[in-house]
Symmetry: C3
Subunit: 407 residues, 3 copies
């Protein structure tokens, strides 16, 4: 097996080189010209999203005791590849307006936001997929996500900002579908566990995400950005409170569980994504944040006991309840709030509701179907699935000269 | 005792739920309308303060060897609750102008700045107060702080920006007064100590605070913001240098002590807070930074040997010399610099000095008195004070599945 | 030896105090007046550079197993001293325009950018130089760097922005020259190695640098800042990909080496520094990033095996291949791209090429010569070189009360 793997490992870099060459050639044909127009997005906004992707998710996923190098390292690799791929895909799809094409900062910010889908999906297969599988998943997912957005924008007349917010929904369900095709890890594996140190680093990542979530929800909003910030902040605050409340209530002895805090403090930000700029009163955002926190913690309880064992899905980072369920709640809230706000608009209301529910269904169906197919393909013998005994192990990918010296 | 505590633990979440419900109802009545005016504060400024609170203080307080989860986790919980409480309290106090009420970003930034008081106070009882005590302290302190500000603004005609800067002074002395009512930890307790890893994480937090302190000092300044940034930076640089100087001079063998560095590098930023925008020459800021560093390190020496044992105060994170003493120096410097600058203004000068010294005395008296009363109330049997043997211990609040597997 | 060292240690603080006093007096004479003009640099831009210096480099250098306190602590000390020194030096050199002198935020940002040279140089002597040596090196290097810039600006008519970008080149070769005069550490020293935890913290620092590099390359650019950001981002992305590719190809068993990732992911940002704002098509930046990554990893292979043992240079943090070689590539690319872009401009082209190659040679010569002399002086008996057995050891500088308690 090792010698087998060694030859496989030596084929990985050629895949990456090939992709990078394709990207460079692609940019040669697609790439922006030398005229630069004033950007509608400030550099600071782009930086916030970039931070969130690189540190936030990088460290959010370091909770596994022996997978810190891979979590942060592969996260960087995937984002570096995925952002280039995303810009090319958007450039090739026919729905891009000419003028926007020149706004380089907006292009790159949208690419970074799209990458959230991939980063979330990798959470579901964290420690189970090898780099080749991760890279292929990145390329395939980013293409399907843009296709799903294109369907939403073109046929269902969903605004670009809203169709972008489907990114979390898409990422979570695509990841779950891919994950369902991977072998389950041994239930007694010690490597699945965290250490206090790795939990603290994951807390650092979670706090990064918590702080930057208002940026994420407001970066592509054109009007009322301050309102989006304000509402997201309150939703996050409410879900942070409810995370502590429910963690105490659902554990034995009334102690707090770090895994609950990691996932539920973010739920409010996820749920409020669709409606951050259209909620008029902060108490609505707070209630949404509360509900999102409740759904996340109860979801983690139900899914891990009832749902996942039955469907044989192993969701390493718990992305289903961290990002999936709050997104569903958010999409629902979006429709409900719109209905309440424009109750007397009659027929337009009906269309809106239909189109939005349609967009939701399209996104989730595309995610599940393409994710399932991707999962099937990635588990072909060709891609040398990792043996279950080597799951969650940095030693399998990284040199550890430290071992020779002693820790 | 444990079974006793278990039932107590199960009552904690209901307190939080109740508070969150009160906040939601409060926002229903107070909350901002749907008109949003242009904010005088940019989103990036708000983010800097938000960062500083969540990461900066979160990791600044992780130096205890077994209290990392609680330091970062409870910090998040307290800020999530406190910001909501602060916005409500400000909305209810009669001194709010109508127009400012609509500036949502300014409202939330001011709430975050006010929370510095609470976060600093928690440093004094770090590891000694249970979550119920921390939450009650948060609510009570934020209310008293706004009351003290209201007295300063209304009766002593102190500018809002200056009365906001009293936040560090208030936080430090309120925290000390509360702390004086808690039992002292056993002097031989190993858990009071830090590990090299926890010291390094606390250094991460300190560096965050160091970098963001110019934002903190300039965020509520309306004119000459660049000057406030510049002066704060030089004061911080000077106190970083003096921290290393005095740490070598005051320790045995001329080695550096990490605890000195953690506290003294920030002293300059604290001291220059009141006058950052009104100092005309950077060398004045540098001298102020130097003096602040000296006061902090000598203060840590004197307070820990002479003052605290006599008054039986145990100050976990050393907030008295880190934030308290440099604030006092800053308030003094404020008066001195004003007197020098407007020496020939006659009677107006006398009023100014009187009012500013009055505001200082009001703030510190309100902090000490209300802090002492809060400390007394929090140590009622009702709130189940933690036994001294369980001080500074994450195990008391958090599940540690890691223990089963081995670290 | 220890008693000898103790007396030496007690002389260190007086040096720092003296320097700080000189700076304060210097600012008294040089310091900016009370008129403040609108800054051409926003506060957020300054903050990004400040972050990058304090966290980015602070944690980038924490990879040594027992040198975390010193890496982050001395980095802060050096920056605090160096920024003040840099502002004074710039103020005293005759090439400063009067109007710019008042732009306090630009002054401080340029000082922070200049400090990159020193921070990179300390990487070469990391763990080998004592604080006195580090401080003297800081002062001397910042003066020589500004002198070299002054020569470039005045005699070779290089633009200020370009001569500033020589900072990485200067820092790397100055550091190497200084390092050549220090004794080599014992090849079997365990302390030279990293631990998985320290490597992960260094990864945190690397990610900070990766995220902030577009800010660094664009902060002093006046026109086309968005283009500088865009190109730097693509160069960084390409070098992140190539880092993973070559790390797999050059190690035994096709595993990844963390040290490769740390250095090569940044290579693209370094190389594209000179031309970030003048590249019109992102694919050029990507190719440059690819080449930089290749040069860094192949450089690390060749330098560590062939070059360094022959020249008896020990480069602790590998700054030669991380910052030195990509800078050389960048300077070369700058000339090549300019030649291609203005092929039909005839004589002006010849001057430009000559001047730019001249500036490159001046910078690198000044760096090597002054670095060598500085290295010689710093190794005088007066400065109490650390014995080789005490290299890379926090215990030599910091109190470790932790040891009494057990880790």
């Amino acid at each position: 097996m090792p010698s087998n793997y060694r030859s496989f490992r030596h084929s990985v870099p050629w895949l990456m080189l090939l992709l990078e060459a394709v990207f460079i050639v692609g940019f040669y044909f697609v790439g922006s010209g030398d005229e630069v127009i004033r950007s509608s997005i400030s550099y600071a906004d782009f930086q916030d999203v970039n931070h969130m992707m690189i540190f936030g998710f990088g460290f959010f996923l370091t909770f596994l005791r022996r997978y810190g190098f891979s979590s942060t390292g592969f996260n960087l690799l995937i984002i570096a590849l995925g952002v280039q791929c995303s810009i090319l895909t958007e450039g090739l799809l026919p729905f891009q307006h000419q003028s926007e094409d020149k706004d380089v900062l907006k292009t790159i910010t949208k690419a970074a936001v799209s990458m959230t889908a991939v980063v979330i999906s990798t959470g579901a297969v964290l420690g189970k997929a090898n780099p080749v599988q991760l890279i292929l998943m990145t390329i395939v997912e980013i293409m399907f996500f843009h296709t799903s957005r294109w369907i939403n924008n073109t046929f269902l007349m969903v605004q670009d900002g809203i169709s972008m917010m489907h990114v979390l929904l898409f990422g979570a369900y695509f990841g779950l579908a891919v994950s369902s095709r991977f072998s389950e890890p041994s239930p007694r594996s010690e490597k699945k566990a965290s250490t206090p140190k790795s939990d603290l680093l994951a807390m650092l990542g979670t706090l990064f995400l918590w702080v930057f979530w208002p940026s994420f929800n407001s970066v592509l909003v054109t009007a009322d950005r301050n309102k989006a910030v304000y509402n997201t902040y309150f939703a996050l605050a409410a879900s942070a409170v409810i995370a502590f409340v429910l963690s105490v209530l659902t554990t034995k002895d009334g102690k707090l569980r770090m895994a609950h805090i990691h996932s539920a403090v973010l739920a409010g930000g996820v749920a409020v994504g669709y409606v951050a700029a259209s909620i008029d009163y902060p108490w609505i955002a707070m209630i949404l944040g509360l509900l999102a926190g409740v759904i996340t913690i109860l979801g983690s309880y139900c899914l891990e006991r009832c749902w996942n064992p039955v469907l044989k899905i192993h969701d390493s980072a718990g992305i289903h309840f961290t990002f999936g369920l709050p997104s569903v709640l958010g999409a629902l809230a979006h429709v409900v709030i719109f209905v309440i706000k424009s109750w007397n608009h009659g027929p337009r209301l009906g269309y809106f509701v239909m189109f939005h529910i349609g967009a939701f269904c399209v996104t989730i169906s595309v995610a599940l179907i393409t994710g399932f197919i991707t999962g099937l393909i990635l588990n072909l013998k060709l891609f040398q699935t990792i043996p279950v005994s080597k799951y969650f192990d940095d030693l399998f990918y990284w040199e550890f000269p430290h071992l020779a010296v002693g820790f």
